[in-house]
């Protein structure tokens, strides 16, 4: 086991900067998720660590060793590919044993470790089969088994679940989490699926345009997005953002959302005070909006446009002034389309962002 350190990594493909001066440190045994939309550079960063891409600048350390110029096979890594990359011409046993054979382990040890790995991933009955005779989920398991039997210093996973159907993905997600708690290998997991990121990661590094915009524990990322991009990317539906204007009078700070006056908490008020008459974005997650059916204090009058019953809850699309908001309510809330409702924002859950840069205040 070992920690990982990316030091000012830069990687350019033609005119696209896939990694722009990225630095990141991953602790020994940590499960780090690289999260971001496609093309944000997360896979590139992983491939730079694996040695499948050569960095244009910067250094990669695994443990204390600078591996920047080493070939993939000398880095003591194991990788699970998005396509699984299971060798079609080899049986499950030979697939799992491939890396061990390449490293010239003794035969009986290979057999023992393959069987151990197969058991861990419930593949024992399939060892003699060829990949073509397996389902997608089983192939995926072969890919994971092939990686973990290497007992590498770090385990790299590149969107390993994205080719599975929804139900299987749910199952494998829990399985991967159990696996990590058992083998405790330092893991880097690349995904564009924020639910996977939240559920698996010890920490999440959110990437955009070749940079890490926020790196923190999942709940911190969810609750305290560093900017509008993170707030909008994480959470389904994403965080709502409303344009407001700061108004200060008689030492009182208020944020105007159209006709509505939102009074921030004292601490926030103090911060907003310094920017009178400037625009701010008021960020609030759909589940942190309380829907009142009658006028209430500090509640914003709005009109329900769409009601989507989703089983466990209802998702409302409402028009509040010029803004369209997503709001979740209880499944049995008596709300219908074209109905007027009053929205109250949970005070502690409002996130304030600068309007132009989108950065959290």
């Amino acid at each position: 086991m070992a920690g990982i350190r990316f030091q000012s990594i830069r990687k350019v493909f033609g005119k696209t900067i896939a990694a722009n001066d990225v630095s990141l440190e991953i602790k020994d045994g940590e499960f780090m998720v690289l999260l971001g939309p496609s093309g944000c550079g997360k896979t590139t960063l992983l491939r730079c660590l694996a040695g499948l891409e050569h960095v244009d600048a910067g250094h990669v350390f695994i443990g204390e060793r600078d591996v920047t110029d080493l070939a993939p096979r000398d880095r003591k890594i194991a990788m699970v590919f998005q396509s699984y990359a299971v060798f079609p011409h080899l049986t499950v046993f030979d697939n799992i044993a491939f890396g061990l054979k390449m490293h010239r382990h003794p035969k009986d040890e290979i057999k023992r470790r393959v069987e151990q790995g197969a058991e861990l991933l419930q593949l024992t009955d399939y060892l003699a089969r060829y990949p073509a005779q397996l389902s997608g989920g089983q192939r995926q398991r072969v890919a994971v088994a092939r990686a973990i039997v290497m007992q590498a210093l770090v385990l790299l996973m590149d969107e390993p679940l994205s080719n599975l159907d929804a139900l299987l993905r749910l199952q494998m997600r829990a399985e991967l989490k159990r696996l990590h708690s058992e083998i405790k290998a330092t893991t880097i997991y690349v995904t564009h699926d924020q639910v996977e990121a939240l559920s698996l990661g010890d920490r999440i590094a959110v990437m955009q345009n070749g940079r890490i915009v926020q790196c923190d524990a999942p709940m911190n990322i969810y609750d305290y997005p560093a900017n509008t991009f993170v707030g909008g990317f994480i959470g389904t539906p994403p965080m709502n953002f409303m344009r407001g204007t700061v108004q200060a009078s008689d030492g009182q700070v208020a944020v105007h959302l159209g006709d509505f006056r939102l009074t921030p908490s004292e601490a926030t008020g103090a911060r907003l005070k310094s920017r009178p008459d400037q625009g701010v974005l008021v960020g609030i997650r759909p589940e942190n909006i309380v829907v009142h059916l009658k006028p209430a204090a500090q509640a914003l009058r709005s009109l329900v446009l769409v009601v989507e019953p989703l089983g466990s809850h209802k998702l409302l699309t409402v028009q509040a002034g010029k803004e369209t908001l997503k709001v979740t309510t209880r499944a049995d809330a008596p709300v219908e389309a074209n109905q007027e409702v009053w929205l109250e924002f949970e005070a502690g859950k409002i996130r304030w962002m600068e309007q132009t840069s989108g950065q959290a205040l």
């Binding site: 040695g51 890594i77 194991a78 990788m79 396509s83 990359a85 079609p88 390449m102 073509a132």
Partner: protein
């Protein structure tokens, strides 16, 4: 309505199978007639109207052809030249195809196009300078020289075909092998090669057929060490009719066998590798 629908269905079937049969006959009829003449008595070759069934079966003509001076030697030459061509064009062409399939490099499109353009040069124009060069290089009238020319002819095809095969082998597999302890060459040998093998075999057979059938360069560049087509061609004009039939048949059969073998790989040729 249903009856007219089914009538249209039957009509379209009849048209489909009719065309298929017509196309098959287009190819098979000459083959059959050549075979028929090759295995008939010498006199039967000149009969008119020709019998469409083997009524005068005889192996005399074939025996006469096979025992003609130079024929067996030229068959041996042809086989050796073809094998040399296969080895040389695969050893040179497959890495080229791999490079075109895997790497992005400046001038890649130009190279691909250049390969095809090289096929547009008529051999007839090149033949005289080639003969001169070969005489100077002591390659004239050797099977090495012919194999060299055939390799040059087959190489563009081999590069294009193998690049199609290598594109079909997912890059991920190679990279997975690399993360599991292979260097590039090992990854190629242990993962890419086994998966590309059917396609490479097809390319090899294709090359064999090119070399086996090539007559022009072989005729110009050899005198005594002729390949079979060159031998047949050079003696065709002054040979009796039955000799031509026997020679034609002798030329066709190996090609047929190879095409039959290539058949099941052909679907693999331009697409992916079956997973």
């Amino acid at each position: 309505m249903p009856s007219s629908l089914s009538r249209r269905y039957i009509l379209s079937r009849v048209l489909l199978y009719g065309s298929a049969i017509l196309l098959a006959l287009w190819t098979l009829a000459p083959l059959y007639l050549v075979a028929l003449a090759a295995f008939s008595t010498k006199q039967a070759t000149f009969q008119w109207p020709k019998p469409l069934l083997p009524t005068n079966f005889s192996t005399d003509t074939m025996e006469f052809f096979v025992n003609t001076k130079g024929v067996l030697g030229s068959v041996g030459n042809s086989v050796i030249v073809a094998l040399l061509t296969i080895v040389a064009s695969l050893v040179l062409g497959a890495p080229g195809g791999y490079a075109l399939a895997r790497f992005r490099f400046r001038g890649k499109d130009t190279v691909s196009l250049g390969l095809l353009i090289s096929k547009m040069f008529p051999t007839a124009i090149l033949s005289i300078p080639l003969a001169v060069a070969f005489i100077q290089l002591d390659l004239y009238d050797t099977i090495w020289g012919v194999a060299l020319i055939h390799t040059a002819m087959a190489l563009p095809f081999v590069v294009i075909i193998t690049s199609g095969i290598f594109v079909g082998v997912p890059r991920d597999l190679e990279e997975a092998a690399q993360t599991l302890g292979c260097n590039r060459l090992q990854a190629f040998l242990k993962v890419v090669m086994p998966l590309a093998l059917p396609g490479l075999a097809a390319a090899a057979i294709f090359t064999f057929v090119i070399s086996w059938n090539e007559v022009f360069a072989a005729t110009i560049l050899t005198l005594r060490n002729r390949t079979l087509p060159a031998q047949v061609l050079s003696s065709l004009n002054d040979s009796p009719l039955y000799y031509r039939y026997a020679g034609g048949f002798f030329m066709i059969v190996p090609a047929l066998i190879f095409i039959f073998l290539i058949r099941k790989y052909l679907l693999n040729l331009w697409g992916g590798v079956s997973r």
